[in-house]
Structure formats: structure tokens, C-alpha cells
């Protein structure tokens, strides 16, 4: 289980998160929703080790990880799909996937993991030798997710993966995410502006506003709550903008 306990995170002197606590149980799908600039990406960056909390703790399977380097956190089994995909643009699809399996254990299982990846994203096999920058937006997002899965994570962190994609591709990608979660028992912690979609898919959800968690509970229940309806559903587009 991933446990975040009362963390404060700063960018320089600017405080971005205020006493945030949440938990992701093994095999669970958890959503963190909130508007732009609420602190969602900051939280994911902190979990993955790109930022450090000034106060509070983050632990995974009972071990503190909040002061560890990002590459150690991948080793612990937490893998992130960063906002904006952050692929290696001049490297081939296959090279991007190989880098996902950079760590020794993942490298050993690379061929097996790769076959699984090509099963769930067949288009990537076709694009294998192309440079990542030549892929379409949807394909790039698939590659970013596939690359994160190559490290054989126990938890997958997804930062705004629907941003800028067409509804059809978003459905396609979330089919795979659900499958990965249910069949492979990889816990999913996703951060979304697309509140409806995120709440429909997840087991548990948290709502973040101005760097503070202002609501939490069963995702389906939150979807029905008047508070969420008022705050988000009026303005949230049904499923992302078009490509």
C-alpha cells in the first residue's frame, strides 16, 4: 500500500500542497481529481521522487520513500507516466520501451514484458522502429504508458493521460488501463481534469482544491454527490478535447 501522510510541498518559497494525506491500496484504482493548478501533478511528482515534501511522509509497503531519489522509487515498484508524456523523441519506439525496462529485474524479463505490451498495444509493434516523435498523439500516449509498464510496477501513476486526445482514443486507452488493473493487479493512481471519466472508472477518489484534499470517498458516491456535481460537472467536458 502507498500511504501519503500529511505532506507539505513547496516550489521554492511557494507552498503547493498543504497537509495532503491519501492512500492507494494494492490492486486498487484511485483517482485524484481537481481543477487546473490544484496541485495534482505536484502530488504525483512528489510520490515519484521528482519533488521532496518539506513535511510529512510517504511510505510504500511500510518503507519510507519520501527522501529517496526518483530512480530508487521506480525500483521500489512505483512507475509514473508523466504529464506531457515525456518520451525520448529521437529514439525509436523499441528503444523507449527498452529504457522503461532499464532496471536489472525488469531487464531480465524484458522479452516477456514486451510480448505482453505488444498484446495490449498492437500498434506499438507496427511502429517499433519509428522515432517516438513521429507517432500520433494517441500512439505517443500509449507508448508512454507502455514504457512505464515495462518496469513491471506494482503501482502505476498516471498524470493527465487524456489531455488533448480524442474521445475514441481515450476510451481505447482506458480499456487497457482497466485491464491492467483488473487482470494484472497493478494499482492505478490517476490524476485527471476529466472528473466524470475518472470517477466512473475508479474505486476510490480524492478531490483536491488549492493544494488541499477537500473530499474523499467511494468514487461512485462522489459522482452522485451534489457538491461534485455543482463544482465540476457543469464545466467538465464529457471526455477530453479533440486531438
Amino acid at each position: 500500500m502507498l500511504k501519503i501522510d500529511e505532506i507539505d510541498v513547496y516550489y521554492g518559497d511557494l507552498q503547493a500542497l498543504w497537509g495532503v494525506s491519501l492512500a492507494v491500496k494494492d490492486g486498487e484504482m484511485v483517482a485524484l481529481v481537481g481543477s487546473n493548478g490544484a496541485g495534482k501533478s505536484t502530488l504525483l511528482k512528489t510520490v515519484s521522487g521528482l519533488l521532496r515534501p518539506r513535511r510529512g511522509s510517504i511510505s510504500y509497503q511500510g518503507i519510507r520513500i519520501d527522501q529517496q531519489d526518483a530512480h530508487k522509487i521506480v525500483e521500489a515498484g512505483i512507475s509514473m507516466v508523466p504529464e506531457g508524456r515525456r518520451l525520448f523523441p529521437d529514439m525509436s519506439v523499441l528503444e523507449n520501451l527498452e529504457l522503461g525496462a532499464y532496471l536489472p529485474q525488469a531487464r531480465q524479463a524484458q522479452q516477456k514484458t514486451l510480448r505482453w505490451i505488444y498484446d495490449i498495444f498492437p500498434i506499438l509493434r507496427e511502429r517499433e522502429t519509428q522515432a517516438a516523435r513521429t507517432l500520433s498523439g494517441g500512439e505517443q500516449q500509449m507508448l508512454a504508458i507502455a514504457r512505464a509498464l515495462m518496469s513491471q510496477p506494482r503501482i502505476l501513476l498516471l498524470d493527465e493521460i487524456t489531455l488533448g486526445l480524442s474521445p475514441l482514443i481515450v476510451d481505447n486507452i482506458f480499456e487497457v488501463i482497466k485491464q491492467v488493473n483488473k487482470l494484472n493487479h497493478i494499482a492505478i493512481f490517476l490524476v485527471e481534469q476529466n472528473v466524470v471519466l475518472a470517477l466512473e472508472l475508479s474505486d476510490t477518489a480524492y478531490i483536491i482544491e488549492n493544494g488541499r484534499i477537500i473530499g474523499q470517498g467511494e468514487a461512485k458516491a462522489l459522482l452522485e454527490s451534489q457538491e461534485v456535481k455543482d463544482a465540476y460537472l457543469g464545466i467538465a467536458p464529457a471526455s477530453g478535447e479533440t486531438d
Binding site: 530512480h71 515525456r86 525520448f88 529504457l99 518496469s151
Partner: protein, 291 residues
């Protein structure tokens, strides 16, 4: 026939320029460091080759592996002592700070070399120095042939290392997006350390060749100049084009010597440099950066 002979000398020089510039291009392409002390480090390596020859009679070509180890260690020490601190900065500050730091190092190395070995010019003279192979009336110096051979070996070996090995791929990934690289489990701090040391040790063959030409404490900056010109000609970070750019520059120089005479050798290179900066600042060679 005469111009062909000049062209051969130009290609030999060009191969050496290429080997000198590789390390500069690597450090800049991977980390955003502009290490203008590179030429002086090469001269230190050349002194190493000189003394290995003088004391133990080691042939300069055979001294290359030893020089690689020495330069690798110097690279590690330099990186840990002065360059690792720059990583927390944005790329543009890394460039400026590394320029200042390496300029300081340049002065230190130069004066150190004068103190240790005096300002005299020296060179290794082997039994094959000055000997040439004669093919259809063209004179091919053995050392020159060795230089071209070394340049090809170095470029191919570097290419294979960067594209076929896991660590090489990690280096390229780090050059493209160091933050995302961390998310792959890549230890970026270590990757930078090794990359910097690599950018120094890769100059070992150039150092060995230069030791057979002429070495003095003051000529480091000339080699750095050649390196910088090539980095621009090839396109910044485009290490695959460094050797072609070197050969191109060597040829231009040779042709200018043929046409207007030897005193203007250095001029020709600088004129090309300025023209490229004016009209094609992205570099002469097509294709994207290999890093």
C-alpha cells in the same frame, strides 16, 4: 596530382580535428557543458604519451589504452570537484558556468604544464615518424594513415556504445530528457559522471597523435578552437557528423594552402566558421542529433 596530395594531408588533419572535437560535442550534447579546457586536457594526455615513450619506450599508438585510463580518472576527479555542482542549474546557466570554470581550468593546466615541463616544444619521434607509403606517386604518411584509422575506430566504437548498450542508451535518454530518465530508474547523477569522464577519455587517441606532432603547454587552446569550430559545423550535439565535419574542415584548409599558401591555414577554418554561423547556424549536416 599535387592537389590530391594536399587533399590527403587535409583529410589526415581533419581526422585528428574530429577526434579532438568529439569530447566537446559529447559533453555539450549530454550535459550542456562547454568544456573549453578540453584542448589542454588533450595536451596533458599528449605529455603522458611523451613521457611514456621517453621513459619506457611505449609506442604512442600503444599508449592509448593507458592514456584512456589516466584521462578517465582525471575526468572523474574534475567532474566531482567542479562540474557536478552545475547540474542543479538550467541548461543556459550550465553553459555559462561551465565556460567560466573551464576557462579557469585552462589557465591552471597551462601554467602547471609550464612549471612541470617548461615551455619547450617537444615531440615523440618513433622509427616510423616521417616515413611514407608511396602509392601511385601519392605520399601517405604512416602516422597519418594511423590517424585516420584511429578516427574511424573511435567514431564507430562510440556509435556502437551509444546505440547498442544499455548504458549508452541511458546516456542518450538522459541527454534528451533527464527528468524522464529518472522515471525509468536511470541514476542520472551517475550517468552524468560517466558521460563527462567519457568525454575526456575519448580524446586519448587524439592526444597520442598530437604527441607525435608537436606539444607545448600553450597549444591546448588551438585544439580547443578546432573543437569548437567542429561542434558548430556539425551542429550542436550531432556527434555523428563530427568526423565528416572534421574531414571537411581539413580539406578546406588544405585547398586554401594549395591556393594561397600555408600562412593562411588558420584563417580558412575561421572564415568557414563565421560563414556557417552567419548562414547555417544549425550546422552543415543534415539529420537530427544522435544524442
Amino acid at each position: 596530382m599535387d592537389i590530391l596530395q594536399f587533399a590527403i594531408y587535409g583529410l589526415i588533419n581533419g581526422a585528428l580535428y574530429g577526434m579532438v572535437a568529439l569530447g566537446l560535442s559529447l559533453a555539450y550534447g549530454i550535459m550542456g557543458y562547454l568544456n573549453v579546457a578540453q584542448g589542454h586536457l588533450i595536451i596533458l594526455g599528449a605529455y603522458g604519451s611523451y613521457w611514456l615513450f621517453r621513459i619506457w619506450g611505449v609506442d604512442p599508438f600503444l599508449s592509448i589504452p593507458i592514456l584512456m585510463i589516466i584521462l578517465f580518472i582525471i575526468g572523474i576527479i574534475l567532474y566531482m570537484a567542479v562540474y557536478s555542482w552545475l547540474l542543479k542549474f538550467q541548461v543556459i546557466s550550465r553553459l555559462k558556468s561551465s565556460l567560466l570554470i573551464s576557462f579557469g581550468l585552462m589557465l591552471v593546466f597551462e601554467n602547471m604544464a609550464i612549471l612541470l615541463w617548461t615551455a619547450d616544444e617537444r615531440a615523440v619521434t618513433t622509427f616510423y615518424s616521417g616515413k611514407v607509403a608511396d602509392i601511385f606517386g601519392l605520399r601517405l604518411p604512416y602516422i597519418g594513415l594511423g590517424t585516420i584509422g584511429l578516427a574511424i575506430i573511435v567514431v564507430v566504437a562510440l556509435h556502437l556504445f551509444l546505440t547498442k548498450t544499455y548504458f549508452g542508451k541511458a546516456i542518450r535518454a538522459t541527454a534528451q530528457d533527464w527528468e524522464a530518465s529518472q522515471l525509468m530508474g536511470i541514476n542520472v547523477a551517475r550517468t552524468y559522471l560517466v558521460s563527462f569522464a567519457l568525454s575526456i577519455l575519448i580524446a586519448a587517441p587524439a592526444a597520442a597523435v598530437i604527441s607525435m606532432r608537436v606539444i607545448s603547454p600553450g597549444i591546448g587552446v588551438e585544439w580547443t578552437n578546432y573543437g569548437l569550430v567542429l561542434v558548430i559545423l556539425a551542429g550542436v550535439g550531432n556527434i555523428n557528423s563530427i568526423l565528416p565535419a572534421g574531414l571537411f574542415l581539413g580539406l578546406i584548409e588544405a585547398i586554401s594552402v594549395y591556393l594561397v599558401g600555408a600562412p593562411y591555414t588558420g584563417m580558412a577554418g575561421l572564415v568557414v566558421f563565421v560563414l556557417v554561423l552567419l548562414f547555417k547556424p544549425q550546422g552543415l549536416f543534415k539529420g537530427r542529433a544522435a544524442l
